[in-house]
């Protein structure tokens, strides 16, 4: 690989990311699967870096899942989005940051559509007024939460207590980055680094001392694909897509997968379990899997958060080997204890996946 070549491309796909004052919207999936990730995001940005990130309990889903599953029409989803924008305007913000890639893609799609068809935007305005008596203003800047962490990557690095380095060998950790398809494949110009060699996560890894892995199926979808997963009969396709990615990254022996999408960490994590249990194949060292983390979790780790506070126990693939490599001290006994210290109950041990 010729690194300079990539830098040239990356330099052509840079977007303006304001430094502060954001209206934050959460992700349906992440709230339920990785609640700690969003909490960590807010904690880092607000408390550690002292940024103004506002969120309101009145915001709803963006409707993306329903939309991509062909259960609601585009106008409906646009009206929902319009309402979110209205909330942002109401609270006097013009920078919009969302935690979900599906939402991010959908916001981009919506704004592009409105740009192409102003009459549609007018119609949505009308819909929103009729339904909620609200007026909306389009955000001046639309970014994804990972864009923001990318923006702050060096600030974070400055406050980091450890690097993405194997403390035993001194080697940088081999990291696979996986961006959500809807982050930049639909609108390459809207993502940092474009669609072919996206930079948003690479930037973080480089800043935090890790080494990025460039494997053939890097751009391939994690396998979620909405319908492919929601209909059980199609799950084989979803699984096969994930399998393809792991087969492709295997020779590079990655220590960790970092993602910026709600679906990806979930599927890259859970499908490893399914592949292991149904075929006996595992991809990590000696029977372990490859931990698939969110960028907030990785950020949390380098900044010295307690792994269990980061919710790493909610992953199917055990993170302990990673923590050992990074020299993160943790208390195995506390793994399945909730905030107030009461036992959450530990999962059944797996037959194949350690």
């Amino acid at each position: 690989m010729i690194y300079e070549g990539k830098q040239k491309i990356w330099s052509e796909y840079q977007k303006e990311i304001p430094d502060d004052h954001y209206f934050y919207v959460r992700s349906c999936i992440r709230q339920s699967f990785f609640p700690a990730s969003e909490a960590t995001f807010l904690d880092i940005t607000r408390n550690v870096l002292g940024k103004d990130i506002f969120e309101t309990e009145h915001h709803t889903t963006c409707g993306g899942i329903a939309y991509h599953s062909d259960t609601i029409p585009q106008e409906t989803v646009m009206t929902i989005i319009a309402r979110q924008f209205a909330l942002m305007a109401k609270h006097g913000y013009e920078n919009y940051v969302c935690s979900c890639i599906t939402s991010f893609g959908l916001y981009c799609e919506t704004m592009e559509t409105w740009r192409e068809y102003p009459e549609l935007e007018a119609k949505i305005r009308e819909n929103l007024w009729k339904s909620c008596k609200l007026e909306f203003a389009k955000p001046k800047f639309l970014v994804h939460a990972s864009d923001l962490i990318y923006k702050y990557r060096n600030l974070i690095a400055a406050q980091a207590v450890r690097k993405l380095v194997n403390v035993h060998t001194g080697e940088p950790l081999k990291v696979v980055e996986h961006i959500g398809c809807h982050y930049s494949k639909m609108f390459p110009s809207k993502g940092v680094g474009g669609a072919e060699y996206p930079y948003v996560l690479v930037g973080m890894i480089e800043a935090w001392g890790g080494e990025i892995v460039d494997y053939p199926e890097r751009r391939h979808c994690c396998g979620f694909g909405f319908r492919q997963y929601f209909i059980k009969g199609n799950r084989g396709y979803s699984l096969s897509n994930t399998h393809k990615k792991f087969e492709s990254m295997e020779p590079f022996k990655p220590d960790l997968i970092i993602t910026n999408c709600p679906g990806c960490p979930y599927f890259l994590d859970r499908w490893q379990y399914v592949i292991a249990e149904s075929t006996g194949k595992t991809y990590g060292q000696d029977g372990h899997g490859i931990p698939a983390l969110t960028y907030e979790e990785v950020a949390g780790l380098v900044m010295g958060y307690d792994p269990w506070d980061l919710g790493l126990q909610t992953h199917q693939v055990g993170v302990e080997p990673l923590l050992d490599k990074m020299g993160v001290e943790y208390d195995p006994a506390k793994k399945y204890l909730g905030k107030d210290g009461k036992d959450l109950g530990s999962p059944q041990p797996c037959a194949c996946l350690k």
Partner: protein
């Protein structure tokens, strides 16, 4: 009658035209922005379909153009139209008063970096047709060390609206087949694949070249455009395309991938256009008086065009075009130009 004629561009078209015009007794001034005459021809090793050495052809052109006043490393600073002729100031300080101007600004090769998905400049084992010609000329390129499997991608930057070129570059198919044969001659054990959308082997003997590639060299032609290239752990390339004949997606591991960069309008077109007040069409090439009956005449009286300045052309087409331009200039300078009184009238009627 020693009219001055300024020829812009020292490639095959410029050289051929200047040789012809000089023979007709005109006073030819040839300017070339780069340091060397010959344009792309100077960088090429052998030419399709008969694989004649490019140097021989160029040598012939240069010999024929001997005695022509020519300035290399020279560009145009400014042009202003006098009543009939043009006053041209060159970057080397010289000013030329020329009665006719021939624009032979040629073409640029498509910058393969623009097709990110092919990874040119990013993966070690990806090169362009020009790189390969250079290898054939010099015999050294760190990317080529006994490759076992080699792929050629046709239409890189051609027939691709996303990379800003809807039309066909005309020469790449034949070049690809020629290079496939040559690389196979260099590495007889190698497997060679050509990924094409349509094989446009229109010229005489081109089909023979195609047949030879299949029959004698076992080159595999796959109808389908490479869509994604990525690098394997061992540095080899994983190439994905569709075999549209079998209508199935396809993947293959290659040691070397050659991109057939197409023809793009020369970068100089824009400013030249401004200097000469000449229109450039949507495709970026100069527009002509009439694509059929006046392909060498620009809309501007006294300004002529030849070669790839008016769209992709093969070498023989370019040379023929240059000769045609020479005839057009001769006609203009004898029938229209001299008649000072009715000049405007004649231009209206005959230009």
């Amino acid at each position: 009658m020693k009219n001055n004629i300024l020829i812009i561009g020292g490639g095959p078209a410029g050289l051929e035209a200047s040789a012809q015009l000089q023979r007709m007794g005109y006073n030819v001034i040839l300017i070339e922005r780069s340091a060397k005459l010959g344009g792309h021809l100077a960088k090429w090793d052998r030419l399709f379909p008969d694989r004649v050495p490019a140097d021989e052809v160029l040598g012939g052109l240069l010999r024929a153009a001997e005695g022509v006043k020519c300035f290399t490393d020279t560009d145009i600073r400014a042009i202003n139209r006098l009543e009939k002729s043009y006053n041209v100031r060159l970057t080397n300080g010289i000013t030329v008063l020329s009665d006719a101007v021939l624009v032979a600004s040629g073409f640029d090769l498509f910058n393969a970096v623009r097709k990110e998905e092919y990874g040119y400049g990013i993966y070690n084992q990806v090169m362009t047709n020009a790189d390969l010609e250079a290898y054939f000329k010099t015999g050294n390129d760190k990317r080529i060390e006994n490759p076992k499997k080699i792929g050629f991608v046709h239409c890189v930057g051609s027939r691709d609206e996303k990379s800003g070129c809807r039309s066909c570059s005309k020469v790449c198919c034949a070049t690809a087949v020629k290079q496939a044969i040559e690389i196979k001659q260099a590495f007889p054990q190698a497997e060679v694949f050509c990924f094409y959308m349509d094989l446009r082997l229109f010229g005489r003997h081109y089909e023979d070249l195609y047949l030879e590639a299949q029959k004698e060299y076992g080159v595999r032609f796959i109808r389908g455009r490479v869509a994604e290239v990525s690098e394997n752990y061992d540095g080899t390339l994983l190439v994905k395309a569709e075999d549209t004949v079998a209508s199935k997606p396809l993947k293959v591991t290659l040691d070397l991938l050659v991109l057939m960069s197409g023809m793009r309008p020369s970068a100089s077109v824009k400013e030249l256009g401004e200097h000469l007040g000449m229109m450039v069409e949507e495709d970026g090439y100069f527009s002509v008086r009439s694509g059929i009956s006046a392909g060498q005449r620009s809309p501007q009286p006294g300004i002529f065009l030849a070669g790839a300045a008016t769209g992709p052309k093969t070498l023989p087409e370019t040379l023929a075009d240059a000769r045609a331009a020479a005839m057009e200039i001769e006609r203009y300078l004898t029938e229209i130009f001299p008649d000072a009184r009715n000049y405007k009238q004649l231009v209206k009627e005959r230009w």
